[in-house]
């Protein structure tokens, strides 16, 4: 009998994408960085011809989510993936076309703002990509290739100067030096905080493994710190550090004060300790006792048992702790801009203060990007250490 099957997930995602394109503004034309722009839907911005470049692949995907044809599901998913890639590739192209149609060379302050339809489409298309990645069981390598391909298309339009009028690009061009510096500071602060917490938490874990009494003292303390909101902890560090700095020339000479990098660093490390210490301690303790027994029984020395058996087996969970810590530190460093630590948070808070949304984006998007990259980096590292994953991937 003829039965109409439907892939609910792709159907919902694609329908929502199409609706957002119809109902919401795709781009807006802003005369300068402060004044609000006039919104354009996708059709009114580039005309039907170009709009179809995105609408058609989406319609095709909608069609493919009904499975009345005899094509295998793998084929259908592959087609849908191809359509999604097309949507991703055409998005920067449409922006470039909009710019050439609506902004002349002489309007040096005019800029293209990204409308809500653009963001919603980006979000939903990414969700569809995640969904298809799971259905097609794409390997990490293929995903990386896709990301590079999509990034490359954006880079192409950026380098050929077709995206120059894009609001965030204008904003970046106006303060590229500050941006690069802020990006570096942000990265340094995060790296320094994570590195020092790795060292500190290793020491703490060693202490706790030696003397179990410390477990009862250290965990509640770290939990307590983790509960205190970041803004409060930053605020509370200002007065004591300011007092210390006022009374010590040495501290002043290395730039320690109530505001600046010092309180930021202390707070970042304090927050990082809990996930790191907890994961490391638990991971090392929960290695299967019979494995340790066998290792000892075969004549491994305590050091060999630790380095060859306990540590490698605990490694995925330890890395997970470092991953959580790093992502957390990337976000907290942004907040630390409030107490003068610098970094990308500066753009967010200055942008909010001046009601300049493009500047907020210039701060927030790279922070998101940094967090996603850290996540990708650590999950790749974790999969290298986890033998179970290795074998299950091979068997697939």
């Amino acid at each position: 009998m003829f039965r109409l099957g439907i892939d609910k997930v792709m159907f919902v995602l694609t329908t929502a994408s199409l609706l957002s394109l119809i109902l919401l503004d795709f781009v807006s034309l802003q005369p300068n960085r402060i004044l609000p722009g006039t919104g354009h839907s996708i059709v009114s911005s580039v005309g039907w011809g170009y709009a179809l470049l995105i609408i058609l692949p989406l319609l095709f995907n909608l069609f493919l989510s009904f499975s009345f044809r005899k094509a295998s599901s793998i084929q259908r998913y592959s087609f849908q993936l191809l359509m999604l890639i097309l949507v991703f590739l055409f998005m920067p192209m449409l922006l470039a076309i909009f710019a050439t149609q609506h902004i002349s060379e002489t309007q040096i302050h005019a800029r293209t703002g990204l409308g809500s339809a653009f963001w919603v489409l980006l979000f939903l298309t990414s969700l569809s990509l995640i969904e298809l990645k799971q259905k097609l069981n794409l390997s990490r390598l293929k995903i990386c290739f896709l990301i590079i391909l999509i990034t490359f298309s954006w880079l192409f339009f950026y380098i050929t100067a077709q995206l120059d009028t894009l609001a965030i690009v204008r904003e970046y061009t106006a303060r590229s030096v500050q941006f690069q510096q802020a990006f570096r500071v942000h990265l340094y602060l995060v790296c320094a905080a994570v590195m020092s917490s790795i060292v500190l938490s290793t020491l703490l874990v060693m202490l706790m493994r030696r003397h179990h009494v410390f477990e009862k003292a250290i965990f509640p303390l770290l939990n307590f710190i983790q509960t205190i909101p970041s803004l409060a902890l930053f605020g509370l560090l200002i007065a004591p550090l300011g007092y210390l700095a006022a009374n010590s020339e040495w501290l002043q000479s290395i730039n320690v004060g109530g505001i600046g990098w010092a309180p930021a660093m202390i707070a970042l490390i304090a927050y990082s300790l809990l996930p790191m210490v907890r994961n490391t301690y638990v991971a090392l303790n929960e290695v299967d006792a019979s494995v340790i027994d066998a290792a000892k029984g075969m004549g491994m020395s305590p050091l060999e048992v630790f380095l060859q058996v306990r540590l490698p087996l605990a490694m995925p969970i330890i890395l997970e702790g470092i991953r959580i810590t790093t992502i957390q530190a990337i976000g907290l460093t942004a907040v630390a801009a409030l107490i003068g630590a610098g970094g990308l948070g500066n753009f967010i808070f200055q942008g909010l203060g001046q009601a300049a949304m493009d500047m907020v984006l210039l701060g927030a998007l790279p922070i998101l990007f940094m967090a996603l990259m850290a996540d990708l980096f650590f999950s790749t590292l974790m999969s290298l250490f986890s033998h179970q994953d290795k074998t299950s991937r091979e068997s697939q």
Binding site: D7, K8, V9, S116, W119, L127, I130, E131, Q134, K135, F224, T227, I228, P229, S230, L231, A232, L233, F234, G235, L236, I238, A239, G242, G258, I259, I327, Q328, I330, G331, L332, A334, V335, L338, I339, G345, I348, F349, G351, L352, G353, A355, M357, V360, L361, G363, A364, I367, L368, A371, L372, D375
Partner: protein, 237 residues
């Protein structure tokens, strides 16, 4: 209870400690934050977080239940992926991104808090429901319970501790994020801190920071107690 007492004492007591704060910021003319009363800020902070929490709990738990039923299970892989990946986004970035889309004020703050607060709740509810021993479900069905009865009498009670710990995480993060919400125009306990930082008035910063810290600790200890009670109840069953 200890933290609650401290919180109340601080809320009403800071006004009487003018001399103490004057020593911290000797150069400032005014040392007690006075644009709003601390009580009003505290209540508004709690209001924002509670509204967001109520919405996230309802939406989060319901959607997690939806994707674990037979009619919604197609959405399960996507939802669980998004719930775990979404936590990669720093809350401050989510807060900042809500402004270009929704503008300044209380509403975007509530929305950002709700969205971000959803993730741990969805994630934990999924983990809780999926973690219920299949043998228990099997025997519940075998005794003739309807699927609604299985959900209400077996799945939700058994996963309640895990769900509650998700709610606890969600609220802890949201109290912190709501404080930063001052920068996008919501009136919260973050106001004194931000205004103190802008004007170099350390006394304001300390007042705000102490209140935020105490609010977080009070809420957390309250939720912890609730969790303990649930655990005790379960071990009796």
């Amino acid at each position: 209870m200890f933290w609650l007492t401290c919180l109340l004492v601080a809320t009403f007591g800071f006004v009487h400690l003018e001399e103490l704060f004057a020593q911290i910021s000797p150069t400032q003319r005014q040392v007690i934050y006075s644009r709003d009363s601390f009580l009003a800020l505290l209540l508004n902070h709690i209001y924002l977080v509670s509204i967001a929490a109520i919405i996230s709990i309802c939406v989060g738990v319901i959607s997690a239940i939806f994707v674990t039923r037979s009619y919604g299970k197609e959405f399960l892989p996507l939802v669980s992926q998004v719930a775990s990946m979404g936590q990669t986004f720093p809350p401050i970035a989510v807060l900042a991104l809500s402004v270009p889309l929704l503008g300044f004020g209380t509403l975007p703050t509530i929305l950002a808090l709700t969205l971000y607060g959803l993730l741990p709740i969805v994630r934990n509810t999924l983990a809780g429901i999926q973690g219920v021993n299949p043998a228990v479900l099997e025997s519940a069905k075998g005794m003739g319970m309807s699927s609604i009865q299985v959900l209400w009498r077996v799945e939700l009670p058994l996963s309640s501790t895990v769900i509650l710990s998700g709610i606890r995480t969600s609220i802890t993060i949201n109290i912190a994020t709501a404080a930063i919400g001052s920068t996008i125009g919501a009136s919260t306990l973050g106001d004194p801190v931000i205004s103190g930082l802008v004007n170099g008035n350390t006394a304001y910063v300390i007042q705000g920071a102490i209140l935020i810290g105490l609010l977080a600790l009070t809420t957390d200890s309250f939720l912890e107690r609730l969790q303990q009670k649930l655990i005790v109840k379960h071990s009796l069953m």
